[in-house]
Amino acid sequence: MTRDTAPCDVEIVELSDAEASAAFDQLAQREMGISGDEFLGRWDSGEWTDADFDDVPGLVEVWMGLPLVR
């Protein structure tokens, strides 16, 4: 984890790959009640391809986190 606190005390934190993966898993668990791996599998299978993102609780939040792992 790399930190950049200058010039103010709001940090910019660069996550390692392992930390990013853990953060994504935590996000999927919290927002959709599934693991990060399960989300990725269902995403890759096209489960939400035709979905209105706003109609699926938590989907916008977890989709926003996809660049953590991809």
Binding site: I12, V13, L15, D52, D54, V60, E61, W63, G65
Partner: protein, 173 residues
């Protein structure tokens, strides 16, 4: 992310901007930054402010920027999600731009209670503007209100000057 860092400094709460650059920053790769690793920022009794943004590294057009803002590359926003929730978990507002999926609203929009299913078009909302909204909701501040608004206006100014769209994104985004 420095402008966001400076903007967040006006709020009284724990904030860190987290990003996974996965090696090194490169073009044609979408990155996400989020507030407290997508956990949101506790703002006293007001509630929790959550924020995340997708961005890409793109070539910068030197003819479009003044001497102070020259550089080979710049960041271009690809999506955002800002949300204020009460301490009990009810959403006060959700500011979205997620130009993927089958949503009827591929342009920036807001969801407001009581009918959070509606997509109300907003045009592009800057992160700094979302922070100003928090001030309107009496978010706890580290500086006085006028100074906070002035700081955010200053941080927003460069973005407003150089951004490539304001109402609806260009085709293909």
């Amino acid at each position: 992310m420095s402008p966001f860092q400076r903007g967040l400094k006006v709020l009284d709460g724990h904030a860190r901007l987290t990003v996974a650059k996965r090696g090194s920053y490169r073009k044609d790769q979408v990155y996400e930054w989020s507030l407290n690793s997508n956990g949101g920022m506790q703002l006293g009794q007001l509630g929790i402010f959550s924020a995340s943004m997708h961005f890409e590294i793109v070539d910068s057009d030197s003819t479009q920027h003044d001497a102070e803002h020259q550089g080979a590359f710049r960041c271009s926003t690809r999506a955002y999600n800002y949300k204020l929730s009460t301490p009990r978990g009810s959403d006060v507002w959700r500011l979205h731009w997620h130009p993927v999926g089958k949503s009827p609203a591929k342009e920036p929009h807001i969801h407001l209670p009581p009918d959070l299913d509606r997509h109300l078009p907003t045009g592009r909302i800057t992160f700094e503007k979302a922070l100003v909204w928090l001030i309107e909701y009496d978010a706890p501040l580290r500086v006085d209100r006028d100074e906070a608004v002035a700081v955010l206006a200053q941080e927003e100014a460069s973005h407003l000057l150089y951004r490539t769209w304001s109402e609806a994104p260009p085709a293909g985004r």
